[in-house]
Amino acid sequence: MSTAATGTVTAVEPPAGSPLHRIGWHWRHNPKRELWLAWWTIVAFYQLYVLVFFVLTRTQPPPSPGWDAARVVQWFNHNHDGVLIGFAIIFLITGMTAPPNALIAYSMRRMSVSRVFAYTYLVLYSLSAIPGMLLMCIVLTVGAMRPDRNANLISWLYDFAFLSFEGTMGVFLIGSLVWMVAILIDKNRVFPKWFGYLNLCNALTEVVVSPAWIFKRGVFAWNGLIAWWIDMVVFAVYTGVFIVLLRKMIQREDFGTGPLPDAARPLDLDLSEWAETAR
């Protein structure tokens, strides 16, 4: 693993020049290109996520669960275009949720733990996207596409959409715990242990949101101070932290099986050798 020990090091520096030229060089030569692609997909996905859910569809922060049918129909009418455009974007980019999950599973494959962790996480988080995101997009799109239907039916769709989106966060709970255990027992130092514990904080918020099924107003409703706002702050911190830590992991990645180096190294391996180990 140690480059000093191999004796066959060829220092390779990315060429200077225009950003496009450098990106092109990395695209052809950087053995971490798939990892970086997955990482940039996370960054791009969450930007689009904020744009769609917070700006276009106005589904985040969530509207009130206590509205009567007439007010819900009014909400659909008011957000008709935003819902259709926003969720059309989501249907197009849903596939972007796969590379982040794959990268997180990769982080567990890089650890000294069983592959079962990575596979479990991958399956859990792939399935979780259905109740955790897609159902709401489909159901609200249905409501926006059929404005002529009975107001009670539209109201039912509204409840269905937001309860599936906000109320089923528990499906992410086990995934977070799987990642946590993997980090805590890992000996390759892929992530700091405090991030393992932060996974527990995130997992606990998935429990905190569950009273949203019962309450139609107040702090525990799906738009409540505790069930939504505080949970969202924890989730935002958690997401921001893991995006940064995944970036550091890619920088430190040496394609070995032992402990990950503490600091990022330049591309100082012979490229063919590196590409070989990457395979």
């Binding site: 140690s2 405090w194 514990y197 702090v219 503490d262």
Partner: protein, 199 residues
């Protein structure tokens, strides 16, 4: 693969940090974060309490302060035995440490039983999660604390596992577990003060 020269500063750092906090510093990051999250729950509770103080006072009066006091004392006893466990383990008295860790488990179980008993009593009196705002907060705060305590049993399991065999006995892990347990205890004291005592 391994570079002993590069490892030395890390070990040194770990020793340095151990001087400041017991156990893994990472657990203290968790403690700080959870303290912030709970502090925000408390702030929300206090804000809503000031909006309808009468309702909160009347509902609060329906709780049995004696049960709350007993629960608090039991949990403080569990923290005391946990502290004795860490002290004994530091001194190399692992048998005594193990006994104290098991006492901590016992006190934890007593707390859980008392809590379930109290919930059953409150529910029998006709108060549930959605009866009114106070009881929503009451069931939420005590429930989320209960969950932390259940996780605490896994943590105590790790501590007992470490103490069980001479081949393990990681002082760092034992102190990390103790840090978690004390945090759960500390959070309960705050919850007790807010829900039962503050008028």
């Amino acid at each position: 693969m391994t570079d002993p020269v590069a490892k030395e500063p890390m070990a040194e750092n770990r020793e340095k940090s151990a001087e400041f906090v017991p156990g893994q510093p990472d657990m203290w990051a968790f403690v700080m974060f959870e303290a912030l999250v709970f502090a925000s729950y408390f702030v929300v509770y206090m804000i809503f309490r000031t909006r309808s103080p009468e309702l909160y006072l009347q509902s609060q009066a329906r709780l049995d302060l004696r049960i709350g006091v007993v629960e608090t004392l039991v949990l403080l006893m569990s923290s005391w035995s946990m502290a004795r466990c860490v002290k004994a383990s530091r001194a190399g008295a692992f048998r005594s440490a193990l006994t104290n860790a098991l006492f901590t488990v016992l006190f934890g179980v007593v707390f859980l039983v008392a809590k379930v008993f109290e919930w059953a009593r409150v529910i029998r009196m006709g108060f549930g999660l959605s009866t009114n705002e106070f009881f929503s907060h009451y069931f939420f705060l005590t429930g989320i604390h209960f969950l932390h305590l259940l996780i605490g049993f896994i943590v105590l399991g790790v501590v007992v596992y470490q103490l069980w065999s001479p081949g393990r006995r990681s002082q760092e892990l034992i102190e990390t577990g103790a840090t978690y347990w004390h945090t759960v205890d500390f959070l309960w004291v705050l919850i007790f003060a807010l829900l039962y005592v503050v008028r």
